[in-house]
């Protein structure tokens, strides 16, 4: 067997599996979206039908807020642990990145333990103020859950980017008389922009599509993933569920592809 035949042969298992279990099913999904009682209009329903549109707006607003808040928190924490050396630093980094492998369902449970009916926040507020604060099962809980999910990922991205910064640029700025604040504003933060774009894309796209956390917290939180799930299982509204998932998949992919072309990094959202 010649080398080039062997190399082609190496791609056969991949081609078979990806064609049969990814490309064919995704094509079916796109077709199914257009095959319901609404026809092709199912794809427009997400924008035209007020109930779906409201869900879309909610999801986008929530994902956007999560992204901004995550970015601010993770930049402060990431810069701090990467720039300073102190005892316990590696333990602190381990704590900040430990939840990286938690699936969405487990993140949901973490939020229940924090802000649920038997949660820590409820305990503290009822002993201090007398009133029990419980918000795990609302959009506030979901917000906290998505933060929990995104912070470790974004901190890692920020830390990696800070490590690659050229310290001479900062020294140059300082020797020219720039104060600490000016150095950060004019040198450090602009140099971190590619990392910011990459991590915003990850956290926005994951928040748009995340299902496990919303599922654990409550079935009636009004976000896109839950809408798809209820349309499919409870409403048996397969065409709408398919059209919505195609739309969601496309948006998630497009955001990541766009960010990648800006940032030049291979990025994608997990789970």
């Amino acid at each position: 067997m010649s080398s080039s035949t062997f190399i082609r042969f190496c791609l056969v298992p991949l081609a078979v599996v990806v064609l049969a279990f990814f490309i064919l099913p995704m094509t079916q999904l796109i077709v199914a979206g257009a095959n319901g009682p609404l026809g092709l209009k199912a794809y427009a329903a997400i924008l035209l039908e007020p109930r779906y549109r409201q869900t879309l707006v909610n999801t986008v607003l929530l994902s956007f807020t999560v992204t901004i808040v995550t970015l601010v928190i993770s930049t402060i924490a990431g810069l701090f642990v990467q720039r300073n050396r102190f005892p316990g630093r590696s333990l602190l980094i381990a704590m900040l990145t430990f939840p990286l492998a938690f699936p969405g369902v487990v993140v949901g449970f973490m939020i229940i333990l924090l802000a649920g009916r038997q949660g820590l926040i409820g305990e503290i507020t009822s002993s201090i103020a007398g009133g029990k604060v419980v918000f795990a099962y609302s959009i506030g809980g979901l917000f906290l859950g998505y933060l929990y999910f995104s912070i470790p990922r974004v901190i890692l991205t920020v830390m990696a980017a800070v490590e690659k910064l050229d310290p001479r640029l900062e020294e140059a700025a300082r020797s020219l008389g720039a104060g600490a604040w000016a150095v950060h504003r004019d040198v450090v933060l602009p140099a971190l922009t590619p990392a910011f774009i990459a991590s915003s894309a990850i956290s926005f796209a994951t928040a748009m599509g995340a299902f496990g956390t919303a599922f654990t917290l409550a079935t009636n939180i009004d976000v896109l993933a839950m809408l798809i799930y209820t349309e499919f299982t409870l409403g048996a509204n397969i065409a709408i569920a398919a059209a919505l998932s195609v739309g969601l998949g496309f948006v998630a992919w497009a955001i990541l592809a766009l960010a990648r072309s800006f940032a030049g990094a291979t990025i994608a959202a997990a789970g």
Binding site: F9, P13, L14, P103, A180, A242, L248
Partner: protein, 267 residues
């Protein structure tokens, strides 16, 4: 000087607060899993009773998750390692497009992929009801991690020269692949394997749609316990999950592949 120290203190306090937000609930859940009565607190005593209950209720889900994770690993190895070799050697536009396509399942929400699989193969009852249906979903989702981890190693070593010198000594393509390529790709294969197993063990979004009452996995069981069991049982179950994935996480940190799970990494 005092100004920088105040700034240091503020940043440290902030970072500690963030770490507390992430770690406190995990600790609460570990404690709750071995507490007699979480409502009364740890003073009520420490027990393994809840772990035992979880074992009685959900042992099958734990076994099945391990089976599926190992099967997923096997399939991604058989498909992914040769494919990574071929994609690296061929290079060019074709390889980039293939890589882009197989990476799509990381970006597309699991819910969409699961719906697509159900629409296409849900009618084949025997397949739909078996654990193989879940396996297919896990393979599609984890495959890009294996392929990219192996390709990342190929990018750092000079595979072409190795391959060509083995060829000039008369080794057949298959022997070169087995005796030269695979041994050299070992660090990538190991990193990819750890990622595939960790992701498969924790996969929920696809699995929730693909499972049947007889093919529940650990994360599916977790969701079930969160919804219907008392907090102590849900916590004990989560504790078992932590015990399963923490060694994998530590191993990944050890070989420096931890960032691989975090897909923002430059490849």
């Amino acid at each position: 000087m005092t100004k920088t120290r105040i700034l240091f203190g503020l940043q440290l306090a902030f970072t500690l607060l963030v770490a507390a937000f992430l770690i406190v609930p995990a600790i609460l859940s570990m404690v709750a899993g071995v507490t007699v009565n979480y409502f009364r607190g740890i003073r009520s005593g420490v027990t393994l009773h809840w772990i035992g209950q979880v074992w009685e209720l959900y042992a099958d889900t734990i076994g099945r998750s391990f089976e599926i994770a190992l099967a997923t690993l096997l399939v991604t190895l058989v498909i992914g390692v040769p494919a990574a070799y071929a994609l690296h050697t061929r290079g060019g536009r074709f390889s980039r497009i293939v890589e882009e396509i197989i990476t799509l399942p990381i970006a597309i929400p699991g819910l969409a992929i699961a719906l697509a699989l159900i629409l296409t193969y849900g009618g084949i009852g025997g397949f739909r009801r078996s654990w193989l249906f879940i396996l297919v979903g896990h393979v599609i989702f984890t495959l890009p991690f294996m392929v990219r981890a192996v390709m990342a190693v190929f990018a750092t070593i000079d595979v072409k020269t190795l391959d060509e010198s083995a060829a000039s000594l008369g080794a057949s393509p298959w022997r070169r692949f087995r005796d030269v390529i695979v041994p050299n790709a070992r660090p990538g294969i190991l990193a990819g394997a750890l990622m595939v197993v960790t992701l498969s063990l924790g996969e929920f979004n696809l699995t929730w749609m693909l499972h049947t009452p007889l093919t529940k996995t650990l994360p599916v069981g977790l969701a079930d316990s969160y919804a219907s069991m008392r907090l102590e049982i849900a916590s004990a179950y989560t504790l078992i999950f932590f015990v399963m994935i923490i060694p994998l996480l530590v191993a990944m940190q050890w070989i420096g592949a931890g960032a691989g799970l975090m897909p923002g990494k430059k490849s």
